[in-house]
């Protein structure tokens, strides 16, 4: 069994932003050179998410608006104070909760050298507290 891990970076531009990373992931899988196994895509941050949905602008907008409804910016969060370990204000409780709702990762099967995906499935990196420099990893595990 082989394990290939590739790290990709993004400079996000908005506070809340949904970025299609499907082609980046497919290219990473192709360059890994494996034929069967599993593809794991994971964000390295706690205020971003990875999700899969239909690649339509209205779905993207609905998804972001849902996150704003479920974890609104204006609320009495406990995570709203000076964070001594950073020396900065930690006031993004809603971003962490939105990340918890989305999850940090997703998986796809790898078969005949390709990811097994539904025709409408699109892989997204979701920025939840941008703009920031971000990284996600693609882990291809198999033979």
């Amino acid at each position: 069994m082989k394990s290939v891990v590739k790290t990709f970076s993004l400079q996000t531009k908005q506070d809340l932003e949904i970025i299609n990373i499907t082609e980046i992931v497919k290219e990473a899988v192709a360059s890994a050179g494996l034929t069967i196994g599993t593809v794991h895509i994971m964000t390295k941050h706690t205020t971003s998410g990875i999700t899969v949905n239909e690649g339509l602008p209205d779905i993207e907008k609905d998804l972001l608006e849902m996150l704003e409804r479920l974890a609104p910016r204006k609320h009495d969060y406990h995570h709203a104070r000076f964070l001594h370990s950073d020396g900065q204000m930690a006031v993004n409780g809603y971003s962490h909760l939105r990340s918890a709702l989305l999850g940090k990762d997703t998986f796809f099967p790898l078969h005949d050298g390709k990811m097994v995906m539904g025709s409408r499935q699109t892989i997204y990196f979701v920025e939840l507290d941008g703009p920031l420099y971000r990284e996600f990893v693609v882990h291809v595990l198999g033979e």
Partner: protein, 286 residues
């Protein structure tokens, strides 16, 4: 929108130029997260709607043997982007302070002076070393941005930054424009008193003590001072300041917007007051 209070000590391109800076940012200023790129910095300004930002160093040579960004680095950043407006810093206890300040203004084009008595550890009222600096700022017609009130630096001493110590300075230099950071929290009423009495006293909005910026800004501006008093007495004396990198600047923008001020006052805070203070419109680059 103009942000009058940013410290570029967390910008990677600046930190990479100066190996001692990264250590000083941690040990003296007290920010421990990783620096971010200039591109990321501008993206944060864009997302917040900030067009221009005042960037300021802090010269702590006597107190701590370091400079939290130099005047030269501020000048370098200004060359990188016209979105940056540079302020200088000098060590008040240095015998070269006056020469350095004059050079920073006349040679580098810096447009104000930043002083942080809590971190630079000097006496605001000292007539031997501070008054000549105040005199030069009056003659050069540049504002002084004073850190007042609590310092988040682990070695900052708030007692040196009490706003009441400024009153005699303001009286002795009636033409000097003085900007008080964060309404000098926790000494808000004392700072407010200075603002209603002296028209050459300004305040920035970087009120960050607990809760979200929206919570802390509302507690001070609405709960303690009162929004009506802002409109009546300070409408031309409040300037938007974020104190980046202590906080992402978008959060201070939201904090002001969340107050639902009358549009004229909000516009003054976000642009007009700082443009007047910095004479941007008169310089034709505002």
């Amino acid at each position: 929108m103009i942000d009058i209070h940013q410290h570029p000590l967390h910008i990677k391109e600046v930190v990479d130029q100066d190996p001692a800076l990264e250590k000083a940012v941690k040990n003296v200023y007290g920010v421990y997260s990783s620096p971010h790129s200039l591109e990321s910095h501008f993206s944060q300004m864009d997302a917040a709607g900030i067009e221009k930002a005042v960037i300021m160093p802090i010269d702590c040579t006597t107190a701590h043997g370091c400079k939290l960004v130099t005047n030269e680095q501020i000048s370098w950043l200004m060359e990188k982007s016209s979105r940056f407006i540079g302020f200088a810093s000098v060590d008040p206890r240095s015998p070269d302070a006056l020469v350095e300040l004059e050079k920073a203004v006349k040679e580098f084009g810096l447009q104000g002076l930043k002083l942080d008595p809590s971190l630079q550890q000097f006496d605001i009222t000292n007539k031997d070393y501070c008054y000549p600096i105040y005199q030069l700022c009056s003659e050069l017609d540049i504002p002084i941005f004073f850190h007042c009130g609590m310092s988040w630096s682990p070695i900052g001493q708030a007692v040196l930054a009490h706003p009441l110590m400024l009153e005699k300075v303001i009286q002795d230099f009636p033409k000097l424009k003085v900007v008080i950071s964060q309404f000098a929290w926790p000494w808000v009423y004392e700072a407010f008193m200075l603002g209603i009495k002296y028209k050459n006293v300004y305040f920035d909005t970087s009120i960050l003590f607990s809760g979200s910026p929206s919570d802390s800004v509302r507690q001070v501006l609405d709960g303690q001072i009162g929004l009506k008093n802002l409109e009546r007495s300070l409408c031309e004396q409040i300037v938007f300041g974020s104190n980046t990198p202590r906080v992402d600047p978008k959060r201070l923008v939201w904090a002001i917007q969340d107050l639902h001020l009358n549009p004229a006052l909000e516009s003054n805070i976000f642009h007009a007051n700082a443009a007047n203070l910095l004479k941007l419109d008169r310089r034709n680059d505002g």
